[in-house]
């Protein structure tokens, strides 16, 4: 069973003309876990992955697989399996044809192509031209191509895009299994919720900069504690919270109090003699802290706007 190399990225930057799309990235992707490369569309994820794979020349920095650049790999398909855009197929070539071209380039036997077609569930469509394939089928074919050489490292650009729920579940368990075998798995996505269940580590990219990296659990604890509280007498509760110096936002189901525990909020209401009808902790919302991370970066870059105050 091949174990994966670490992917080490050092000072990676890319500018197209005056536009800097990737700005000084430093990170390491370790084997044995699934790493999610997250960020909104246009954050520079695809450009970064293409630099790692030697398709785009970095303006500065480098990306290495156990010390070797992608172009220096002796047997690239057996070391690194990659999936780019799901539309990177000649529409007139069959699924089997695509795999045979790759198998020929890698020096693999013909049977390996059929093996992969069965694995990804495309055996029935092996001799259909890819032009007739749905996005989900193209994704499966892309995965088959990435896995053809049984590589220790997998780099997949938006592998869950366009898959049906059953397909998403299948890919998630496949990726988890591959990581458990000791492979390095790096997948990109613009939706945290899409990969939340499968990733161990995250790299969060916003406007070409890394805004967070580390275990997903660390991202979870970054979320501020919040308490949801409601009272039949809302004005009295608002006054009590205000006097205690807490920040409360009124919603449909009461107040959302940030930076405070239910114990503290309950104590304040008790001392003020305000009756409560709800008091609970709001569970940490990962998606929200993800969006906050991206938004922070946006706010830092965006020029101050005066239009926001107008109705």
């Amino acid at each position: 069973m091949p174990t994966g190399a670490s992917i080490v990225v050092e000072g990676l930057s890319k500018s197209f003309g005056a536009r800097t799309v990737v700005n000084g990235l430093d990170f390491t992707v370790r084997p044995g876990v699934v790493t999610g490369f997250l960020g909104p569309n246009g954050a520079g994820k695809t450009t970064t992955l293409r630099m790692i794979l030697g398709l785009v020349r970095p303006s500065a920095g480098r990306a290495l697989f156990d010390g070797a650049a992608y172009r220096e790999l002796a047997e690239p398909q057996q070391q690194v399996g990659a999936m780019l855009d799901a539309s990177s197929f000649h529409p007139g070539r069959t699924a089997r044809g695509h795999l045979l071209v790759a198998a020929t380039a890698g020096g693999f036997p013909r049977e390996r192509a059929d093996e992969l077609l069965r694995l990804v569930g495309l055996a029935e469509s092996a001799d259909r031209r890819v032009g007739q394939f749905s996005t989900g089928m193209r994704q499966r074919l892309g995965l088959a191509l990435a896995l053809l050489g049984d590589p220790g490292v997998l780099i997949l650009d938006e592998p869950l895009n366009g898959l049906d729920p059953e397909g998403i579940r299948w890919v998630r368990s496949l990726l988890r299994g591959l990581a458990q075998e000791g492979r390095t798995v790096l997948i990109s996505s613009h939706l945290l919720s899409e990969v939340e269940q499968v990733v161990d580590d995250v790299l969060i990219l916003s406007r070409g900069r890394l805004v967070a990296q580390g275990p997903l659990s660390a991202l979870r604890t970054r979320t501020q504690e919040r308490t949801i509280v409601d009272s039949p007498d809302r004005p009295a509760l608002a006054t009590a919270l205000g006097e205690a110096g807490l920040e409360a936002r009124e919603g449909r189901h009461g107040f959302v109090v940030t930076g405070s525990t239910p114990e503290e909020v309950g104590g304040i209401a008790f001392r003020a003699g305000v009756q409560l009808c709800e008091l609970r902790a709001a569970h940490a919302d990962l998606e929200e802290s993800f969006l906050a991370l991206i938004a922070d970066e946006d706010a830092a870059v965006a020029p101050p706007s005066t239009e926001e105050t107008q109705p």
Binding site: Y70, L73, D85, S88, F89, R93, V101, A105
Partner: protein, 274 residues
Amino acid sequence: MRNVGRAFAAELRKLTTTRLWWVLAIIMVGYLGLVSAGFAAVFALAASGDAATAAQLPGAGASQAAALLPYSFASSTGYVFVLVFTVMTVTQEWRHATLGPTFLQIPRRGTVLAAKLATGAVAGAAGAVLALLASIGAGALVLLSTGGDPRLGDPEVWSYAGRTVLALALWGVIGIGVGTLMRNQIAAIVTVLAFTQFVQPLLRVAGGFWEPAAVVVDYLPGSASDALSGLSIYSVLGGMPGLSWWLGAVVLAIYAVVFAALGAALSWRRDVTN
């Protein structure tokens, strides 16, 4: 070396796993067969002296070369099919965004280009064999059935065939270079067709009656190709001596090298962003 061999095998497989090659092959064989048969029929009429127009036919019955003219379309027209085919084999990598996967499978881009150039030569040679079968086959059939002499035992016919294989192999390599340089499939096909069907014929006809142009005309790729294969309607029409066959080969090879070098320097090392 092993990687070069694999890259070459992978490129060949790319050509054979889409429909383009046989669609173009059918069109080429049908077209060349018709034109060669048509010319052979006119020649047969000319020889029998039946047709009034036959007397006005350029060089009819005059020279040995003219008698073989029905066969000449294998090289003088066949090369356009080879050129369009090999140009498209490269430009479709950009058109369908398959260059990324190609470079992932073989990350050394020089190796990929070398494999493509070799594939172009093979495709050109294979195209030449089909073109010769169509032209000589259809031409000889008509000549035979009209009581003419197909001259299939003539060494001139066979040296023409052999040199046509070399010429079209070189055209195959030129197509890879042109496709690499131009990248855009539509633009490349339009340019190739405009040059081979309009610009080049115009220049060559002009060269027939304007002395200064004639010098340049000899070095056009189409003229060099005709000089190499040794048979074309221009040599009969204009009676121009042109280049010797081996000089034609050298000129055509220079075109191949120049286009490949320009493509390698200006296109092949670019970022692959789609």
